[in-house]
Amino acid sequence: MAATEISVDHIARVEGHGDIRLVIEDGQVTTCEMAVVEPARLFESMVRGRSFEEVPYIASRVCGICSSSHVVTDLRAIEQVFGVEVTDRTEALRELLLYGSYLQNHGTHLFVFAAPDFLGHKSVFPLAEGNPELFERALGLKALGNELCTLVGGRSIHPITAVVGGFTHEISADEYLRLAEAMDATREFALASVDLFRDFDTVDVQTEGDLLAMVAPDAYPVCTSDTLRFVRAGYDFSAQDVEEEIEEYPVGHSAAFLARARRTGHPYMTAALARVNASWDALSKDARYAAAKAGLRPPEYNPFANNIAQAVELVDVLDRCAALCRRLAANEFEGGSEPVKFDVRAGRGVGFTEAPRGALFHILDIDEGGRVRRASIMTPTAQNIANLEADMRQLAEKMAAGGYDTDLITLEVEKLVRAYDPCLSCSVH
């Protein structure tokens, strides 16, 4: 039996630059590479020697889609070093800012990047002509994410207002109430999105790696916990120990470092699917019902279900944002949001948040003058690549055994890559 080679240069509809190399010989995958071909971006080195005030500004530029996540993660690392306690109101605003990037990210990924595959299109533009109502509402959802980020962070990406200790600007109570109403008005479409992605056919792949997500008792946390769980291996650890628990390692074909759990040696996926598996019980009632109706219940190990998990999170996020906005308008959180006073001191801090695409860590070592001595960033995509390669291998072998032709295998492999919602530019930082 001849060897089949699959080669995709520059995978479309993902953020960043990546190539796929697959060789199947006699039904066995002999080469399986997700090559991240980004130029070196050198952020971990560029922030060395910079003042803590500049660091979130610089790190934000790792990623144009989850810039809010990079900023909040950096702020948490810096505040840990300085011993800064922020107010409940500031915490609430940071959650809102992150949720804004969830709406932007999931809206863009689901409708602009992923949906065209399932509808047989090469881009989102035929959708605009063929199903203008769906297109309009999908854009509306993304626009709501932009509006939330703009009102809380000062602009749709690379937020201006979030600084160490608090926020430099806040909107009025009326604007929070208007946002809450906009969230309520969008819920129905988010629920319809769950149904839409449920109805798309996917190949049955069961990831053999683990799932990693932030956890907290009775919560679906995104930036308020320091605890992580490996869902499959069934153990928790503190983000403070992330460098001991997770090993980053280089491979020749990728400009990004790959990752695996040190205790088990297994690769893993960190994403909406991991969060839904880890904190299913704490999803909002609407979101949990929608997930159950779509057949998404833990344990769910099919990576294609990440699309449904993101749609479920849209429902959850809209519910949470509406509640947060109403509480902010009613002044229910203790304290204001103006930056609290603090003293600069030396130390090591680990910032950890759930970015839209999964667990994000910024480890900063700061000197007594407030300058960075050492920085390490671990993005969700870099952590996911090893697991994605393992899933790609499984998918290709399964389809080769089923006698599918090369074009179909290529399409399904690309769909799998997009289901992971990779940010390849982020993964090289």
């Binding site: 980004e38 070196a40 971990e44 863009t108 982020c426």
Partner: protein, 262 residues
């Protein structure tokens, strides 16, 4: 263009391609962030290639190339040279493409930065690395959309000008004049450093209006006097060294070049 002026000639929509180099992709994302207006813009052009949104490959011929990101590899330099040969007009968008931006911070000591992240050598997948530089250091650029990130409406205005002509000139003055019209006060009066003194106007001074000093993302104003600004910083009791550090964030390539000339 002249045949297009004839009322009887059949009009062909101008073909536009969008190329992403080393960047956060944020400026491309920001173009999609003008949701309600996006289809109006797209309706007037033939979007020949946009890898972020479509798996249709890049065509051989196009009228306008929109380039995001800094040139950080030999491969990227070749890409922009090819784009220049084929395109009637080239638009650089965002700080990375216009000033070298944040990637430009590594331009002074590329080898040192690579070693700090990767050890001996960067993986092959990184390509043939060059000291990061703006697109205009490699090819002639016809129009620019400044800032990090770009204002998508500014992008539409610039694209419109390239396609149909415009008598609007880019702002050259420093930001302070534009900022003072917002009547939010001056950071220097609070003893806080701000790069508006030397940064090109045109953004509306959004950051100072929201309580955050200017970080210089629009690039140096051609009318600015950096040496005089350093004097003002020192006079206000602030550290000139900090001012120089802050300038490196978005203007390292220009500052390094100026120092090279001295």
């Amino acid at each position: 263009m002249s045949e297009n002026l004839s009322p009887t000639a059949e009009r062909r929509a101008p073909r536009v391609v969008v190329i992403g180099l080393a960047s956060c992709f944020g400026c491309q994302i920001n173009i999609t962030n003008i949701e309600r207006h996006l289809m109006d813009v797209l309706g007037q052009i033939d979007l020949g290639y946009w890898q972020l949104t479509s798996s249709v490959p890049m065509p051989d011929e196009f009228d306008v190339a929109v380039i995001e990101g800094a040139v950080t590899t030999e491969e990227a330099a070749e890409t922009v040279r090819r784009a220049r040969e084929r395109a009637g007009s080239v638009i650089a968008i965002g700080s990375c493409a216009v000033t070298g931006g944040i990637p430009g911070m590594a331009s002074g000591d590329l080898a040192g930065h690579v070693e700090a992240v990767y050890g001996d050598a960067a993986p092959d997948a990184c390509g043939d690395l060059l000291a990061p530089r703006p697109v205009s250091d490699v090819i002639d650029v016809d129009a620019e959309v400044r800032c990090c990130p770009i204002d998508p409406f500014e992008f539409v205005r610039v694209l419109d000008g390239v396609l149909y002509g415009s008598n609007r000139l880019p702002a050259t003055s420093a930001l302070c004049g534009e900022c003072s019209r917002n009547e939010k006060g001056c950071f220097y009066k609070q003893g806080v450093m701000c790069l508006g003194l030397v940064t090109r106007a045109g953004c509306g001074a959004k950051c100072p209006a929201l309580g955050r000093p200017c970080n210089g993302c629009a690039g140096l104003s051609p009318d600015s006097n950096v040496e005089a600004a350093r004097y003002v910083v020192g006079k206000r009791g602030l550290e000139v060294a900090r001012f120089n550090d802050a300038l490196e964030m978005f203007n390292a390539v220009a500052i390094n070049a100026a120092q090279g000339e001295e």
